[in-house]
Amino acid sequence: MVPNTLAVFIGLFIASVNACLVSAQEAAPASPTAPTAQDEGQQTEVRIGYLRAYAPQLALSVLDVPPRDEGVAGANVAIGDNNTTGRFLGQTFRLDVTEVKPEADVVPAFHEMAARGDRYLLADLSARQLLSIADIARDNGILIFNVGATDDVLREEECRRNVFHTAPTRTMLADGLAQYLVWKQWRRWVLIYGSHEGDQLFADALRRAATRFGGEIVAEKLFEDTGTARRTDSGVAQIQRQMPVFTQDLADHDVVLVADESEVFGTYVPFRTWIPRPVAGTAGLIPSAWHPASEQWGGTQIQNRFAKATGRRMLSTDMAAWTAVRIIGDAATRTSSADPAKIEAFIRADDFSIAAFKGQKLTFRKWNWQLRQPIFLGDGRSVVSTSPQEGFLHQVSELDTLGVDEPETRCVFE
């Protein structure tokens, strides 16, 4: 039966794209176009590039080792979704993935992707890498979607008109967490932060959130990375003795906040503190753009689709990438066009919004092109709550209670 064959065909297409990308090849995967009865002659193709800094990473818990295709898998599922919709309009979408090393020069790779005809680029790069290509992209008429970097600076002092951000910022994540702690009336916090740049930036975001929402940081302590191995065979015994001592002299508090993006000590804090207190931040109760167990707001459907296509659960970067590809796809569908000028105008329009399984439509902050979004608060197993919390009001959108708001922004577009 024809319809069955087609369904299988689309399934295989998604699977084959994934299979290719897992091996991180630079050549574009074959891009079959699904033949249907609805074809009205001409097919138009929308090419999307995905530029990614990748190196295998260690984590304190083996459960937290990032999947090989984190982010890319989300983009692929969205390409599949776009192509299912595209069948009805004669549009096809394809993804070209290029990987570089963390902190490598990304300009040559960017030029290659531009030469291939990618007009949209998903970037999962460091802030420095992203800034090194942002202006070249602008001069080539390429829109960048930042799906990885949470750095506020990319939306503030170093904002660019051609860079959209579907990943949330550190301040959005910290504010989402702080609202919940304040709603719980757990207002006295101690902050333990790591010695790497990302740790310090997240610690800054938590300090800002405390000031903003009426939390009090009663003590702070730096956990220096002395370069010890992350995994040792009987390290657990030492940690069990060291962490209580490390937290022994802290002033009395309700919650321990941890800022350890670098995976040096954070996972070791819960259940090992001197006094029994809940832990939140990069360990314990963690704020994120997506949670692999979220089933609210139709979430079951994207989770099932993602798991079927990839064999694993969906993570935050996967969702940021899925959303970016869907934004491009929705714009192409609704303008019935692959013309980059039309697609860009559609995304920048006042009434643009995208649905992403977060219970409400998501829109862009026009002052810095950051996507407004609720923040999930989850432990390792389940979603505990979603911010903004009830009662945190805003004259424009309650989502603007999360992160840097328009009156405070330092973003000035040239």
Partner: protein, 324 residues
């Protein structure tokens, strides 16, 4: 602040008992606790709770009132329930994760949206066989059928289209773009329009069934509520075609719309997160399922006032009323 309905409902209930309606059985699918609540429409009390398959959502009833069809989504099946005994007497081959469906006007065919597989499954009820699987957009959900039975409409929640399907050839003839996350399709009784709700878009698109184009888009505005919380889902239109009711999700209200002018005439406060609606056959009452508050609300169609809320199972999702 959460609206409290019970006070209001109590006062109005006294008024209603003066004009007794015929008793119908109201069947409510409770998504969370895997049951159906059976409610007597006259006494407005739960008379029985039936254990069913996992995650019951879409629910409908045969035209003779003898069989209930129920999507047991997590069991990947449609259960058939005998209304006389309230026993599960069979299942239908639904395809994976059935969520919503619609019965053809002649009662012989069931059209099912399979969310996980981007398919509409066509089932012949007599032989219990799958007649066809029609590929549609991403996350098919809403299902409607024209009164003459010739046109089926499916909505796909991520593709954001209403797919018009020829009921004889099972081919898609038109794809109409609507706003984000289209959830439900309802034809006007004369078949001239298909109304499609968009949950995240916050609108109802009125599609002209002759031209297959959106002829009007209904928007909603409720003082004191953020526009993001107005999320239209279930739509029902009176048999005389004059009034439409739209369930507005977390806005906790049902909008009453004049089908002539497309103006919202009233917002009826019901329970929390209102999703689906069903009329009683005498058209005197419309019933809403309020998921988060675990209840259903009876609304008087003449006055558009809420009559009473009745606690059912956990997360009531769909509702259907016996035809006799």
């Amino acid at each position: 602040m959460r609206p409290r309905l019970t006070l209001l409902a109590g006062t109005i209930a006294a008024g209603l008992t003066a004009s007794p309606a015929s008793a119908y059985m109201v069947y409510v699918s409770n998504e969370k606790d895997n049951t159906i609540s059976v409610v007597d429409s006259e006494s407005m009390q739960v008379v029985k709770t039936v254990n069913v398959g996992q995650r019951p959502r879409g629910i409908t009833i045969s035209h003779d009132g003898k069989l209930i069809y129920l999507c047991a989504s997590d069991d990947d099946t449609i259960e058939v329930i005998d209304t006389a005994t309230l026993q599960i007497v069979g299942t239908l081959p639904s395809g994976p994760d059935p969520e919503l469906f619609v019965l053809s006007p002649d009662g012989k065919t069931l059209y099912v949206a399979n969310e996980d597989d981007n398919l509409v499954t066509v089932i012949d009820l007599e032989s219990k066989r799958v007649l066809s699987e029609i590929p549609v957009g991403v996350e098919p959900e809403g299902m409607g059928v024209s009164p003459d039975g010739k046109t089926i409409v499916n909505t796909s929640e991520t593709t954001n289209m209403a797919h018009f399907i020829d009921a004889s050839s099972h081919e898609i003839t038109h794809n109409v773009l609507v706003d984000s996350r289209p959830r439900f399709v309802e034809f006007t009784p004369d078949g001239s329009e298909a109304w499609v709700s968009a949950e995240i878009g916050g609108t109802v698109s009125v599609i002209d069934n002759a031209t297959r184009e959106v002829k009007h888009k209904i928007t909603f505005e409720i003082p004191g509520l953020r526009s993001e919380s107005i999320q239209p889902v279930g739509v029902r239109i009176t048999a005389d075609g004059t009034k439409a009711y739209v369930a507005l999700g977390p806005a906790n209200r049902v909008a009453v719309i004049d089908t002539e002018t497309y103006e919202v005439e009233k917002y009826v406060l019901v329970g929390q997160r209102v999703w689906q609606l069903a009329f009683t056959p005498d058209q005197k009452t419309i019933i809403s399922t309020n998921g988060v508050s675990n209840d259903i609300t009876f609304i008087d169609v003449e006055s558009d006032e809420p009559i009473q809320s009745v606690t059912v199972g956990a997360l009531p999702w769909g509702v259907v009323v016996s035809p006799n």
